[in-house]
């Protein structure tokens, strides 16, 4: 282990950040020294990304300071860049039709009288690539590179600025194991050269492989900060998920699942590498895993919302089996889909509640193409009350409701279809605690009435609460299946992050 300078190069002191009324980061302090690789771990929503964006100056904190090299930093992207902080985004911000060299120097290409100095630009770009140890044709367009290569170019861009602090947000989410190895080795090299690295990740094995220290966030708060050598993967996972088992939330259903309703075999799609899956009537199957594991891609491929490369899906209702091909025909056959992004995919925010509920149900609420307003209103009103929309004003615009209520509207509209198979992707993301519990109740009731339910969730307590069976997905494959009695947060997390199960 190289000896590191004692003085931290970057410090976050008591950062607080609120969004609306929600506390995203609650008085967190982090400090990193030159040459140190510091992991920041926590579940989705724990506040990692927000904290990183504050460090990078992209968003402004409500209180607290970011200190670099002893100086308090103004909150702007420019100030951070000038202070030597480089953030590698989770979403690549590359320009597809510009070359590798141009992307590496985007916005700061060297010029002479306005003309780009090609040689100099390429030299700087080549330097950055060499620094990270990757060889790519500098004149190749980004659009022709693989996703992994793009990730490396993105890193090269961050490194080209010769930063003092490099922040990476889930950089290995889209990489193969070999590429991940390469990345980790590269980061170690950079650290040895004196760069301070902040490494945000869920992936415990990686963290334990290269990081010197770790800060663990949970619900916006710092629950632990210390050297890696002083802890174990098991303890880290424990601290990430917390040990507060709220007894009243653990109301397990006793389900007696019926026949298989949905059967998916050999599903292959971008991000999905051969998955078989069955869901029975009255059963809730949960899909656990890390962000980027391929769960959303899987469910969308199953229902036809995205194209499948191969694989068959059948739906069996009342003894009749039909193959599910297109999304339209799936919906008509009795499939319901609550998408991950409710604001863009799930609801027409500019339309009223009753209009949203009417949308998939319009055929039953009309005759000869003419809408039956009375019937629509009645239908919408009863469904709104059933899902607990507060207040159940169906003439209000959907966009004026809170996230929890909006999600209820989405669920309501599908409930009206009496689906035989229902998919919910992150059903309570961005939803307040009260609505969350109500939504859980709705999902369980739905299953009790015989619907086959498939739930994708990154919220471990929720996954455990709802599911009769949990499949844990990683890298597009099912890593393991846990029955309800065997499932706990640690088991899921271990399978999801690649750490072997500790309890046999």
């Amino acid at each position: 282990m190289t000896t590191m300078a004692a003085e931290p190069i970057i410090e976050a002191r008591n950062i607080v950040k609120r969004f609306g009324g929600a506390l995203a980061v609650d008085g967190v302090s982090v400090s990193v020294r030159p040459g140190e690789i510091h992991a920041v771990v926590g579940e989705n929503g724990a506040g990692k990304s927000t904290l990183m964006r504050v460090l990078a100056g992209i968003i402004e904190q409500d209180s607290g300071d970011v200190v670099v090299g002893g100086n308090v930093l103004a909150s702007s992207a420019k100030a951070s860049i000038e202070a030597g902080i480089s953030l590698v985004h989770q979403e690549l911000s590359l320009v597809p039709e510009m070359t590798v060299a141009e992307n590496i120097l985007l916005g700061s290409a060297p010029t002479a009288v306005g003309f780009t100095k090609q040689k100099e630009m390429k030299a700087i770009a080549a330097d950055a690539l060499k620094e990270i140890g990757v060889s790519v044709d500098l004149d190749e367009r980004i659009s022709r590179l693989s996703v992994a290569l793009r990730q490396f170019v993105e890193i090269a861009r961050a490194v080209a600025r010769k930063p003092k602090v490099l922040i990476l947000d889930e950089p290995t989410a889209t990489l193969t194991p070999a590429e991940t190895d390469y990345l980790l080795e590269m980061l170690q090299r950079l650290a040895q050269g004196g760069m301070a690295i902040v490494y945000i990740s869920h992936r415990i094995p990686e963290v334990f492989r290269i990081c010197h220290s770790v800060s663990i966030l949970r619900d916006g708060q710092l629950v632990h900060a210390g050297s890696i050598a002083d802890t174990t993967p098991d303890k880290v996972v424990d601290m990430m998920v917390g040990r507060e088992l709220k007894a009243d939330l653990q109301t397990h259903r006793t389900s007696s699942p019926g026949d298989v309703v949905l059967k998916a075999s050999g599903i292959r799609a971008p991000g999905v590498n051969g998955i078989d899956l069955e869901v029975r009537a009255g059963e809730i199957v949960g899909l656990g895993g890390l962000v980027g594991a391929g769960r959303t891609e899987l469910v969308r491929a199953i229902i036809g919302a995205d194209d499948r490369q191969s694989g068959t899906v059948t739906l069996t209702v009342n003894g009749k089996t039909r193959a599910l091909t297109s999304y339209q025909s799936s919906v008509r056959a009795g499939v319901g889909y609550v998408p991950e992004e409710r604001r863009t995919d799930g609801l027409a925010l500019g339309m009223t509640v009753f209009e949203n509920i009417n949308l998939p149900n319009r055929r039953e609420l009309s005759t000869a193409g003419f809408q039956l307003p009375g019937k629509i209103m009645q239908f919408a009103q009863s469904l709104s009350e059933k899902v607990g929309l507060r207040p159940p004003e169906i003439k209000r615009e959907a966009g004026q409701y809170s996230g929890g209520n909006q999600q209820k509207i989405v669920i309501a509209k599908w409930l009206g279809r009496r689906p035989s198979f229902m998919v919910l992707d992150e059903p309570t993301r961005g939803v307040d605690v009260g609505a969350k519990a109500e939504i859980h109740k709705l999902v369980k009731e739905l299953a009790d009435q015989g619907t086959a339910v498939l739930v994708v969730s990154s919220d471990l307590p929720e996954l455990l609460e709802l599911s009769d069976v949990i499949h844990v997905v990683r890298d597009g494959q099912i890593m393991g299946t846990l029955a309800q009695k065997d499932a706990d947060e640690k088991a899921v997390m271990s399978l999801a992050s690649g750490e072997k199960m500790v309890n046999a």
């Binding site: 402004e60 985004h89 863009t344 319009r362 003419f370």
Partner: protein, 340 residues
Amino acid sequence: MAKETLTETIAVAEAASIEPQAKQTTSGRLFMWVADNGIFVFTALLVLFAVIFVDGFASLVNITDVFHRAAPIGIVAVGMTFVVISGNYLDLSVVAQVATSAVIFIAVSNVYGIPLAMLAALVAAVLYGLANGIAVGFFKANAVIVTLSTTYIGLGLLRYFSGGSIFFGPQDGPIREFGLGKLGPVPYSAVVLLIMTILLSILLTRTNFGFLVRSFGVNEKATRLSGTNTGLVIIGAFIVTAIAAMIAGFVLAAFSNTAVSAMSDGYDFRALAAIIVGGTSVFGGKGSVFRTLLGVIFVSVLTNVLVLSQISFGYQQVALGALIVLAVSVDAVARKVSKR
């Protein structure tokens, strides 16, 4: 203040949605109110202004003339509202469609009678609607460019087959009667406009089809994910426009008892001006057929005022162009202000 990245904006929205939307500022709401409802006030003021200050406006002859001129453009505009509400900007090919319909109407009816002429025009209209609708709805091509190209194709076909000549209807006959006929002070053509407005309004607000058009304009993805074949919806919107243009062509031909390929010049932007001024958002989703009618009234009265004031055609066009840009600017700024 630092700029926000896209993910962060989504994250903010997600987190903020735990609580209801923040209240808008009073000035923001005032601005939005003006943007939404200004047209009623402005139209009333304009008419008042015209009656009081513009010589010759309030005469029966003039009002009838205004109706005559407003009718065909209005019929096109109320039909094209469907395309605009669906978020597909506009249908430039109405110019070709109206002229084609008028020419077919007169030319064919002279030889084969009116019913066959109307049938032929209907076929042409459906073809236009299908061409535009398939290109935009299934090929997902840009509606502006698609309808630009179909305009040229259409006008080209029309001029080729008609030789650019003017067709005359018979001196007496049902066409002439319709063109000259009135219901009280209101010409038949304006009555047609009113009927069309009511019918199309019902289509837009009370049928599943109209509902889907509006829904598509508000959120295309959510509409598709609710199990809708959105391509068909778009084809429908363009066919509605085409049929409205067809009727407008009949009306126009009846008014002048002639038909020539150039007679519908300028219909595209006049219709668009009426739609936008009426308050239908060019981004899609929000709007109504009745508002378009109001916009038609405003634009027609304005044009009439300009003509009576002896303002040349050129200045009229400048005024209309500026009006479009102004109306859209108000909409765009209102959106920005309300997001703060």
